[in-house]
Structures are given as structure tokens and as C-alpha cells.
Amino acid sequence: MLATIVDTEALLKTILASFIAGVGVTLIFSVAILGASRFADLSRDGRPAAAIAFGLLGLVALLAAAVAVAVGIIVMTQK
């Protein structure tokens, strides 16, 4: 009875999207902070190769977070 009243599919999609967006973007952005922080530390310690690797990781994660937010907003506008 309840399943016929509630749009279960929409509700489950809402829950799934909330988890992916909320936890996923937080994870990616945290990796960006990790990359930036380690880049600064390793550069100071005179380890340029490792610093560049972490710098790239941070940059890619930051771009991924920005893309995720942009895609989220675009999906919102398309209904």
C-alpha cells in the first residue's frame, strides 16, 4: 500500500544522490587538501619529486570536486 503511494524510485535516487554527492565531494576535496598540504611540506623538506606528485594529486582532486559540483548543478536544471 505504502509502496504505491510513495515514489520509491525517486526517494531511493534522492538518498543515493545525497550520499554520492555529500560523501563523494567531501572525500575528493579532502584529498585535494591532503595533496596541497603534503606538497607544501615536501617542498620545504627539499623533496621535489614527491612534492610534485602530491601537488598533482591535489590539483586533480580539486578539479574533480569542481566538476562534480558543476555536474550536480547542471543535472538540477535539467528537469
Binding site: 503511494i5 510513495v6 515514489d7 525517486a10 526517494l11 535516487k13 534522492t14 538518498i15 544522490a17 545525497s18 550520499f19 554527492a21 555529500g22 560523501v23 565531494v25 567531501t26 572525500l27 576535496f29 579532502s30 584529498v31 585535494a32 587538501i33 591532503l34 596541497a36 598540504s37 603534503r38 607544501a40 611540506d41 559540483v69 550536480g72 548543478i73 543535472v75 538540477m76 536544471t77 528537469k79
Partner: protein
């Protein structure tokens, strides 16, 4: 002519409700950014107001739910919509006066349902829509925000736990500029649409718009402007109280809480679920607190939110029904709504005067 006068009163009342919605919710939207010093208060409020305005334009799914899935458009008159709005505004004022946390959204839907029930009987209320699109998502959404906030903060601490705190805080403060902005955008999307839905319902009831039509552009622009103006002007008064009441959060918790709230509200808006943004944001904040330390959450506040949730729909519905009965005493013309509006404004003025004389700070919603 008579119905046009009522329609003008309804639209004015709906926009006033939208303004108070923004006014009430400013603190919820910007509290995490201000608490973690991600943004200065003036900047945070102006930023939230601008994104509230922008958010109102990105979806119409919630407006469609309010206009089509809660009450039967065929049984609705502008007077019913007016009575519903008075029910919502009255309940908001009562809860504001006594400092109870309440949802403007649930009050709005409760008020309209009560007035429609009084006007046309149970058949005017679309029970399936109220249960499936309003009540169940209203229960699920704050719980999801809580869980997302809790998992997100655990993820944050796992990834950055061994880094220098200063660098981490600076990073999350920058992130909060985006996540706080998304939260303001989400708030504008979900809450401004409820007013659009109500005005659309009144326009359909008045015969100015076909049933099932989308809100006209002027309705979208005016609803967006009203909530943005309310957000901008409300902040200064309420934030002083809110700033001392919220949990002391670190930047990672602020980022996780606003991210969780924004994700749930934006996803729900996409599928047309009209939520209580206040309760979802509270869920995200509590989740981010509980993820760090379970005792950091004020479980008493959580209990108050549950009590307010249980009371809001029936109380606003009862006031909406009563208001409809009172307007009908004066007939079906515009006299009833005019008398009720005048009486309402008098009561609001008296309540404000009494509150200011008592010298008590305005409680946060």
C-alpha cells in the same frame, strides 16, 4: 473584481510569507560559515541572499508538487489559499514567539491542507500526495542528512587527520565558501518554489492560469526576490542569537555539515520533494557533530525538532481551517480576507511591540 482583490491579497500574503521564510532561515544557511570564520558575517549574508535568488530559478519540480499534488486544484479558491497562508504565517509567529523550532514549509502545506479540508471536505486533500511527497520525505531527509554529515566528517578526519591543523582549517574554510554557497542555492531552490507553487495554485483557482501550468516568469522573479530580500534583512537580527547557540564546529565539520545539507536539499528538489530546509540543515550539523563525538550533539534540541515536526502540520491545518471559517462568515467576497488581514496585522504589531518591550532577543527558528 471581488476575486481579483482576493488574488492581490493572496499574492501579497504569499510574498510576505516568502520574505519571512528567508528572514527566518538566514541563520541556518550561514551559521556554519560564520561559526568557522570561513566568511565574515556581512559577506556571508550577502552571498547567501544572492545565491538564494539564483537558486529559485534552477528548478520548478517542488513548485509543481505544491501546486498539483497536495490539494485538488478543482476544489480550491483564492480564499482557501489565503486561509492556508494565514494558517502558516500564524503558526510561524506562534513558534517564533515561544522560541520553538518549526518548519515554515510544513506550516505552509499544513495551512493549505486545513483550509482546503474546511472548504471542500476530505476529497479536496490529495492524501497520497501529502503522504508520499511531503510526510515521508520529511522524515527521511533529515535522517539522510545526519548520516551523510556523520560519514563525511569521518572521511575528512581519516584523510587529513595527520596533517598540520592550520593548513587543514584553511583548506576547509575555502571549501566552505563553495559548500555554504551550495547550501544557500539549495535553500533558494526548495523554499522559494513553495511560494511559487502557492501563487500558481491561487492563479489557477482564480482562472488566470490553466491547471497544470508552470509558474509564470513574474511569479518566479517575485518569489526569488522576496526570499533573497528576507535573507539579506533577516540575518542581522537573528544571527546574533544563533551565533551563541550553535555547536562550536571546526572547519571540517562546517564543510561536512553544509555539504550534507546541500546534497540532500538539491537532490530532493530535483525530484520535487518539498522539505523543511531547517530540519535538513540541522540533521547535517548534528551528523557532523556526532561523527566526531556523539555527546557533542544536543539531543534535547533534536527532541524539540521532532516535537515541532509532529505539531506543525496539524496546528497550521487547524488555523488554516479556522481562518477559512472566519472569512466565510463575511460571505464569499473580499470582505473576509480584508478583515482577517487587518486583524492579523494588528496582532503581529501587538506581538512585536510586546516582544520588544520585554527586551528578549529574537529566538532562532
Amino acid at each position: 473584481m471581488q476575486t481579483d482583490v482576493i488574488l492581490v491579497i493572496v499574492i501579497g500574503t504569499a510574498l510576505a510569507f516568502d520574505f519571512t521564510n528567508g528572514f527566518h532561515d538566514t541563520a541556518n544557511v550561514v551559521a556554519t560559515s560564520i561559526s568557522t570564520r570561513a566568511m565574515p558575517p556581512r559577506v556571508a549574508i550577502a552571498y547567501a541572499a544572492a545565491l538564494n535568488f539564483a537558486g529559485a530559478f534552477i528548478s520548478l519540480a517542488v513548485a509543481a508538487t505544491v501546486a498539483q499534488d497536495v490539494v485538488s486544484a478543482g476544489a480550491i479558491t483564492p480564499t482557501v489559499v489565503f486561509a492556508g497562508l494565514i494558517g502558516a504565517i500564524s503558526w510561524n509567529l506562534v513558534t517564533w514567539y515561544f522560541g520553538l523550532p518549526s518548519s515554515s514549509s510544513h506550516a505552509l502545506i499544513g495551512g493549505v491542507v486545513g483550509a482546503a479540508f474546511a472548504a471542500a471536505g476530505p476529497s479536496a486533500v490529495l492524501g497520497d500526495g501529502v503522504l508520499g511527497k511531503v510526510l515521508i520525505p520529511a522524515v527521511v531527509a533529515p535522517i539522510v542528512a545526519f548520516v551523510v554529515g556523520a560519514i563525511a566528517i569521518v572521511v575528512c578526519y581519516r584523510v587529513v587527520g595527520r596533517l598540520r591543523p592550520g593548513q587543514v582549517s584553511r583548506g576547509y574554510r575555502l571549501g566552505q565558501i563553495v559548500s555554504g554557497g551550495l547550501l544557500a542555492l539549495a535553500h533558494g531552490t526548495n523554499d522559494a518554489q513553495k511560494t511559487m507553487g502557492i501563487i500558481t495554485l491561487a492563479l489557477v483557482a482564480n482562472g488566470s492560469l490553466a491547471a497544470g501550468a508552470d509558474p509564470p516568469t513574474w511569479v518566479i522573479v517575485s518569489a526569488a526576490s522576496a526570499i533573497a530580500l528576507g535573507t539579506y534583512s533577516g540575518g542581522w537580527r537573528i544571527i546574533r542569537t544563533m551565533g551563541t547557540r550553535i555547536i562550536r564546529m571546526d572547519a571540517a565539520q562546517g564543510f561536512s555539515a553544509s555539504g550534507a545539507g546541500a546534497a540532500v536539499i538539491l537532490a530532493s528538489s530535483h525530484f520535487g520533494f518539498p522539505l523543511s530546509t531547517t530540519q535538513v540543515i540541522s540533521g547535517g550539523v548534528m551528523g557532523a557533530g556526532a561523527g566526531k563525538r556523539l555527546s557533542a550533539v544536543r539531543w534535547g534540541v533534536a527532541g524539540n525538532i521532532v516535537v515541532a515536526w509532529l505539531l506543525t502540520l496539524p496546528a497550521a491545518a487547524a488555523i488554516g481551517a479556522l481562518t477559512y471559517g472566519v472569512t466565510r462568515v463575511f460571505g464569499t467576497g473580499s470582505v473576509g480576507p480584508i478583515v482577517v488581514t487587518a486583524a492579523g496585522l494588528g496582532l503581529v504589531a501587538a506581538a512585536f511591540t510586546r516582544r520588544i518591550r520585554a527586551g528578549t532577543p529574537v529566538p532562532a527558528p
